[in-house]
């Protein structure tokens, strides 16, 4: 063992402190700058990515008993042509089991040090990862760098920091001295150890393969569980690179590579269900749809399940003292990654009588057109539009946009992004509906589809948004309001619905954004997910504490 824990301890300590304070902090710079990552880092990352294409992805020693799989196609056009080793669930489980006892026996410090080293190496590879994430998710490069690289690494580090804190809570040993009145006390020595739950399955999603997977992956790994990483078949590469790096670090430190495994499959022949149902799986982290999430929760047997599913996120507009800033901010939230974020807003509740603003009274139509005009302005420059919208991960999203056109009055048409001719792209479709049209806006319509919903007043908007969150789930909510009592009332109502609320965002921060070490992502308190990234509940149940004790002379 090479002192990885000691080497990375300042990072761990800073992460732990940041999570307690919840001020801004980040371990991994989000700016894709040569000054930070090295002048050749960008080119090197692109070259590394390109060298992966049209090749088998080599994971030395990884178990495989099936033909290699891999049919990833970039939403920006070309097929990746990468094939990955494929193994049956039983082979994966047996390999994971074979590696388990060595990893369980390692100290929390050794495991934590290895996790921190993996994260440091992932950080150094952020440009390569950016290309991998871009061409599997459709995120534009800058976002793929940030969300797929440093922000995902921060979320992983956050999970490691929470896991280490929980594992350190009980001492390794203690002397227990019980007085016996005038007699000699009873004295016992007690020894505790952290014992993992078993095999952990991390099920990744198509749109944020690293950001959404790293918390579960690193929380389980740090607490001594072996991990099987199951990427979405359309977004294998980012997690294959992650697994590759993890296995390299493990082997260098004298551990079995199979402590971290990659479970690959082809669309239509997914092995996810077999893994979920396997009795050897003790922990499942899942990101994806509510329908499959529900299946996972029901079929996981005795495994602990942590999910981030989906929901219907709302914005409620009551009043604003910065109408232009509000419209611009909302426009960006609707456009970013073409609405394919689990945090993106879908429903914008606006009083049918209009609202008061710094520009005077604005009617419902004026509010709606303010938002659509802001989207148009934001996306007017094709290069900027491409950088904001990126591409559409899944072809089904285009069909969903087409179907949505007829369920309301079209305020803004969805259009392709100019200049990205080979890519699958779509700018926001914005529709006007009435509060009564719950069939239109009351279901999640994943992608760049938004509704401006006419309500009687802001209170009705808050209540409808909160009820929707309670019924369908919601990860974010936003409110524009100038009356403090109404703001506090909405904070109460959304808290009761288990939704994190952003109020009066008009500048360079967006409701979609969730910052590690400060914002908990998903509350676990409504159907959008049963867990939060990352709190103590997310890590504390991934291990057990076991003791032995014996008397000692007083």
């Amino acid at each position: 063992m090479t002192g990885l824990f000691e080497r990375h301890q300042p990072t761990l300590q800073a992460a732990t402190d940041a999570a307690a304070k919840r001020d801004y902090w980040s371990a991994y710079p989000e700016v894709p700058s040569g000054k930070i990552y090295g002048e050749t880092a960008k080119d090197d990352g692109l070259a590394s990515y390109k060298a992966r294409l049209a090749q088998p992805f080599d994971l030395p020693g990884h178990p495989a008993d099936k033909s290699p799989v891999g049919v990833e196609i970039s939403p920006f056009g070309p097929a990746l042509g990468i094939t990955y080793p494929a193994a049956s669930p039983d082979l994966l489980i047996s390999a994971s089991r074979a590696a388990a006892s060595q990893w369980a026996s390692a100290s929390p410090e050794v495991r934590t040090g290895i996790c921190l080293e993996i994260l440091a190496r992932l950080n150094a590879r952020s440009f390569e990862m950016a290309n991998a994430v871009m061409h599997t998710t459709g995120q534009a490069f800058a976002m793929a760098f940030q969300a797929g690289g440093p922000h995902a690494q921060d979320r992983g580090l956050e999970a490691v920091a929470y896991a280490y804190a929980e594992m350190s809570r009980t001492p390794l040993q203690a002397i227990w001295t019980k007085p016996q009145g005038r007699g000699e006390p009873i004295v016992m020595e007690k020894h505790w150890r952290i014992f993992p739950r078993g095999i952990s399955l991390v099920i990744g999603c198509n749109t944020f393969p690293t950001w959404n997977s790293y918390p579960g992956l690193f929380a389980s790994l740090a607490t001594g569980n072996t991990v099987i990483v199951k990427p979405h078949p359309a977004a294998i590469l980012p997690l294959a690179i992650t697994v590759e790096i993890a296995r390299q670090v493990l082997v260098e430190e004298g551990f079995a590579a199979d402590i971290v495994l990659l479970a690959t499959d082809a669309p239509g022949a997914e092995i996810t269900k077999d893994l979920v149902r396997h009795p050897a799986i003790a922990i499942i982290d899942y990101t994806g749809s509510n329908s499959f999430g529900s299946w996972v929760r029901e079929n996981a047997g005795s495994a602990d399940v942590y999910t981030e599913e989906a929901g219907v996120n709302s914005i409620v507009i009551g009043a604003t003292d910065d109408f232009a800033g509000m419209c611009g901010n909302i426009a960006f939230s609707l456009s970013l990654y073409s609405g394919q974020m689990c945090t993106a807003p879908q429903d914008i509740f606006v009083p049918r009588g209009g609202i008061e603003t710094n520009e005077g009274h604005k009617s419902f139509e004026e509010v709606a057109s303010g938002i659509t005009a802001a989207v148009d302005a934001l996306l007017a420059d094709p290069a900027r539009a491409a950088g904001i919208c990126g591409a559409i991960a899944n072809p089904d999203t285009l069909a969903r946009i087409a179907a949505a056109r007829s369920v309301g009055r079209v305020l803004r048409e969805s259009m392709p992004v100019e200049g990205l001719d080979e890519a699958r792209t779509a700018t926001p479709l914005i529709l006007a509906v009435d509060a009564a049209d719950t069939d239109a806006y009351g279901e999640e319509r994943f992608g760049p589809i938004a509704f401006v919903v006419a309500v009687d007043n802001v209170t009705e908007g808050v209540n409808r948004a909160a009820e929707l969150a309670e019924r369908k789930g919601a990860i974010t909510a936003a409110l524009y309001e100038t009356d403090e009592a109404r703001i506090l009332g909405a904070a109460d109502r959304f808290a009761a619905a288990g939704v994190n609320l952003s109020v009066n965002l008009t500048g360079g921060i967006y409701v979609n954004q969730s910052a590690a070490f400060s914002d908990f992502h998903v509350t676990g308190a409504n159907p959008a997910g049963n867990a939060s990234l990352t709190d103590a509940a997310f890590v504390a149940n991934r291990f057990r504490v076991v003791m032995w004790r014996r008397p000692v002379a007083a």
Copy 2:
């Protein structure tokens, strides 16, 4: 609000410190002494208990829509004749829901203060509780006082301390300042609140109605959930008194009494399943059999379930340097409360070639007879036997003893305890079997039934005991061994089986005993239960953290 948190804060702080250090500590004196509890406390407690008998138990304002229930009969003889208000599951749920938002809105400090006040009042009523526990469980008075009173209160306090620590982990608010290069930083104010999961159901058991229920009850209550306490129909009184005190404190502090409810039923017409299946139940704490525990886990829907079920606890004997001390210690563990503790040993693995001791080599038969003779000696004095064995809670246990007689060679017959003529009593039945007779010793046989199992050597004993724990569950294990390498090897093996191990107990501490603030009770890592009393995992998921944020001027 009357400053309960401030009043009890020294106790909370001491409990938190003790749980971190895990040295001996107790908030509530375990000695039933008039010097501590007041010179008239013993008589007053007995009088209070007697005044309950043959009366309706009054819980002012408690919902009821069914005829009162209550058929408790003391294992020491007389029927209690107490009837309790009874409500349908739907009425209980609706009353709990009606009280929920007020309790959810209270601060963690207010809730924690109320929990600590309830515990303090329970402590003052320990003599009354001792009588209630004695005459519903069959525990002898001294044990009923300790386990039903101060030790249970300590376990409740421990849960409150863990809950408060977890709730305090995230600040109420923070300022988040993100630098923007040369531009003005983005500054946000963020506000977090603790939000409960919903309604918590605590299902008590017959043998330890308070000790096993208080952790879940107080963990859920402190974290803002309303609680429905469902006692075993044969042991209602201890939890009815608990609920009575909780409701009194709540009302005094301006809260709805129905934040804590009592769910009563009659044997054969239990409402437990309806409550478990009710979608409004968010948290379930269960103590009882594996078979019903398995049903609860499978039928709880989306509720989080914390169980303490049962298992087969083992002692493995390899060698000892205090043969008499070992035999005496084991004899006490077998006899205490007639083996009706979930921590009581059942199987004693002894090498068929005998063991080395401070008294020279002892054959298998000599070890077995050493233990049986120690039981005989321990129970020779009828008064002492009554004080150790108490009575048998459930008549089925006597049938189980009778049935067990034929599955091995009887080393010691089970007998009634002399002088407790009206009571249902039984001293330990001890049988000799071979390691191959797994049908005999490989199942839990709840009650005073023990097997001395012949194995090839201590390693086989450890492995069989550990495998039994993995397959059937185990809460405790004990080892007698003088070789340090074998002790450490056994510690590894039992840790892998998720069992807490006690080594070389010969004095006044017993494998059955689990001390709050130091010993975690149940690991959650084998079928004897899926949770541990009390660790962070036991409390951290009983609430959610919800945020609202808004920009502030830099």
